[in-house]
């Protein structure tokens, strides 16, 4: 079973990477981008086919390791 975890910085937290990318896009002449915030994505393969169980496992994985909930939030998505 496949799932995707997306971890992003909370909106109030400074994202120096995003800021640098915005600047770079601007100086490359890519027009129309107003802001960029960078996050991480984890593509996870899970044993079994039980979605509820998988959700539990991923929540645990996020809370314990994948996300730092002080400055980040996460979201779990399942491939259809």
């Amino acid at each position: 079973m496949k799932a995707r975890v997306i971890v992003t910085l909370k909106s109030a937290v400074l994202d120096p990477q995003g800021k640098a990318i915005e600047g770079a896009l601007r100086s490359l002449g890519v027009a129309g981008v107003q802001s960029v915030r960078q996050g991480k994505v984890f593509d996870v393969e899970l044993a079994g086919n039980d979605k509820a169980a998988a959700e539990g496992v991923l929540k645990e994985a996020c809370d314990k390791l994948l996300a730092n909930t002080i400055i980040e939030t996460y979201r779990v998505e399942f491939a259809e």
């Binding site: 909370k10 109030a12 400074l14 640098a20 002080i70």
Partner: protein, 580 residues
């Protein structure tokens, strides 16, 4: 203009949430003669917390020797300044980032490094070396590995990117740090003795300029947190951690040094803990001037920030400056070239008031000198620690063979090789690292030589616990020995005094004992204390850390060809023991 009406009302709960004791709040009311606005309450809570006011430690810090023929600037500025001859000065300080690092090890440690580097380059010095002193819980504690890995990566992440060699430090493990690790960061810079910059503003009507990164809602209440004992609700305090941007800081360094060279700067202060509040108050109070700020001009990262939030934000990589008249355009051009924010956010006045305006309203109007001078100062009750009895060698059962004992010592986390740590720090950048980590003290060449500085951080907390006075002395003596061992003349000290809750007499007793010991040793060795930092309330659920007064020692080597390393140089040579 009238002072903004209060919403919400200042309740005792609100006062308590700001970390002010009822009598401290009464003291504030008496000072201003009315109920404060919320922004004013925030300002005073930042100024009067332990971290900024040193209210528990000040009476004891005054007993330390702080002067000497080489001392250009002792405690009281962003960093201490010591003359090293040839028109050059070493500028250095140590500072803790304990609580943030426990909550978010990577960012906590990184922003700790960023803060201390800023302290050094605001004085006009280019940072030439960084060190750190770390304490973690027991190696087998479930969080230790994560904390150690995060802190080391964070220190490296910031210093490596900023471009300063991290050349030394110390690390220890003990279960008493399980819930409260220590991250003390030290930075050393080099300046010309006639080009040192200070915080004190001068001249009425001068522009106050905001420089660096934008202000966000980072670490609001961070300064209060840094002084609040940890409890089970640490999770709740989490969002108060900031993210560091070493890239922005590197640009800030270059821009600051460039505008200093161009003669644009009258005074400068970094925005550390309690950000805009303490930097502005300090500039005014030290210069005997009032300050008026107009927050509408503050560059903000987020929309809708209130005056309260702007005054307490701990966003990193920011500075405040008073510019020389007529130099505004030149200074602005330099900052824009480096891609940094630059805004005139106020001016100096002759009123000795600290006035903060936002959206046409006066959010604060306070007597500027009293905010610092009238901060509470406590002579806290302390019980004299009972030194542990001296154990005679013959009373120690000798149950292990010499070989096993040696093996255990070498294997112990405190004594094993720290290569895993210092290999994650770029210790070679700038090309002046004569002695890299792993020896007694780091040795860094000064410019093109032949002068060099020797640097070390030391303390043995279990000695301080067994006998605070002797432990304090020993920490200084050890730093002294490490410096002399590489061939340096020890010249001055910075310190970072990490203790538990000073409101408990036995903890205060440890503090007093250690400070007396440090003072005695520094006095005897002509080894003045020129800067430092105090971190109290290092406790979890009422259990304090070991008393840990870290000593950062700086020594001078006149000719680095005459410095020495600890490695044996050839087979067949005699080995001597010197000393008692």
């Amino acid at each position: 203009m009238n002072l903004i009406p209060n919403t919400p009302r200042i309740t005792p709960e609100l006062v308590a949430e700001h970390g002010l004791k009822p009598d401290e709040y009464q003291r504030f009311i008496a000072l201003i003669g009315r109920e404060p606005s919320l922004t004013e309450l925030g300002i005073v809570s930042a100024m009067w917390n332990e971290h900024c006011s040193y209210k528990s430690s000040k009476v004891w810090l005054r007993t330390l020797p702080t002067t000497g023929p080489r001392v250009i600037q002792g405690p009281g500025e962003n960093a201490g300044v010591v003359d090293i001859g040839d028109g050059l000065a070493a500028v250095f300080k140590m500072e803790s980032h304990n609580h943030p690092s426990f909550i978010e090890p990577y960012q906590g440690a990184a922003t700790g490094v960023g803060g201390i580097l800023r302290d050094v380059f605001t004085m006009g010095a280019r940072p030439i070396a960084a060190l750190n002193a770390l304490r973690f819980g027991n190696c087998h504690h479930p969080r230790t590995r994560h904390l150690l890995a995060g802190v080391v990566a964070g220190i490296g992440g910031y210093g490596n990117s900023f471009g300063v060699p991290t050349v030394g430090g110390s690390v220890g493990f003990h279960s008493r740090y399980n819930g409260n690790i220590l991250v003390n960061a030290m930075a050393v810079g080099l300046a010309r003795t006639d080009e040192i910059f200070y915080a004190a503003a001068s001249g009425v009507g001068r522009a106050i300029v905001y420089l660096g990164s934008k202000t966000g809602r980072d670490g609001i209440h961070g300064a209060t947190m840094a002084s609040a004992e940890f409890g089970a609700d640490a999770e709740e305090k989490r969002p108060t951690v900031q993210v560091g941007d070493p890239f922005a800081e590197k640009l800030l360094l270059e821009a600051c040094l460039e505008i200093m060279k161009a003669g644009c700067v009258v005074s400068i202060q970094d925005m550390g803990a309690a950000g805009l509040t303490s930097s502005a108050v300090e500039m005014g109070a030290k210069g005997g001037l009032g300050i008026e700020l107009d927050l509408d001009a503050v560059p903000c990262r987020e929309t809708g920030m209130t005056a309260y939030e702007m005054m307490l934000s701990e966003s990193q990589e920011r500075m405040l400056m008073v510019l020389a008249p007529g130099k505004e355009a030149e200074a602005e051009a330099i900052f824009r070239k480096w891609g940094l924010d630059f805004a005139i956010i106020g001016h100096t006045t002759d009123t000795l008031r600290f006035v903060v305006k936002h959206k046409g309203l006066v959010e604060a109007d306070l007597p500027i000198k009293d905010l610092g001078d009238q901060a509470p100062e406590y002579y806290r009750p302390h019980t004299d620690p009972q030194p542990r009895p001296v154990i005679a060698a013959k009373d120690v059962p000798d149950t292990v063979s010499l070989a096993d004992a040696l093996e255990q010592l070498v294997m112990s986390p405190d004594l094993c090789s720290k290569r895993w740590i210092w290999e994650q720090y770029d210790h070679l950048i700038l090309g002046n690292t004569v002695q890299k980590p792993g020896g007694d003290a780091a040795v860094i060449r000064v410019e093109d030589g032949p002068k060099a500085l020797a640097l070390t951080t030391d303390v043995t907390p279990r000695y301080c616990e067994a006998d605070p006075f002797e432990g304090g002395k020993q920490a200084v003596a050890e730093a002294w020995r490490n410096l002399t061992a590489v061939g340096a003349t020890p010249i001055a000290v910075t310190d970072n005094l990490n203790f538990g809750n000073p409101e408990r007499p036995e903890i205060m007793g440890q503090f007093v004992g250690c400070v007396k010991g440090i003072g005695a040793a520094c006095e005897a060795l002509d080894f003045p204390v020129v800067s430092g930092n105090v971190s109290l309330y290092n406790e979890t659920n009422g259990k304090a850390i070991l008393p840990t007064p870290t000593i950062g020692g700086v020594g001078l080597i006149e000719d680095l060809a005459k410095s020495m390393t600890l490695a044996f140089k050839a087979a067949g040579e005699a080995i001597y023991v010197v000393g008692k």
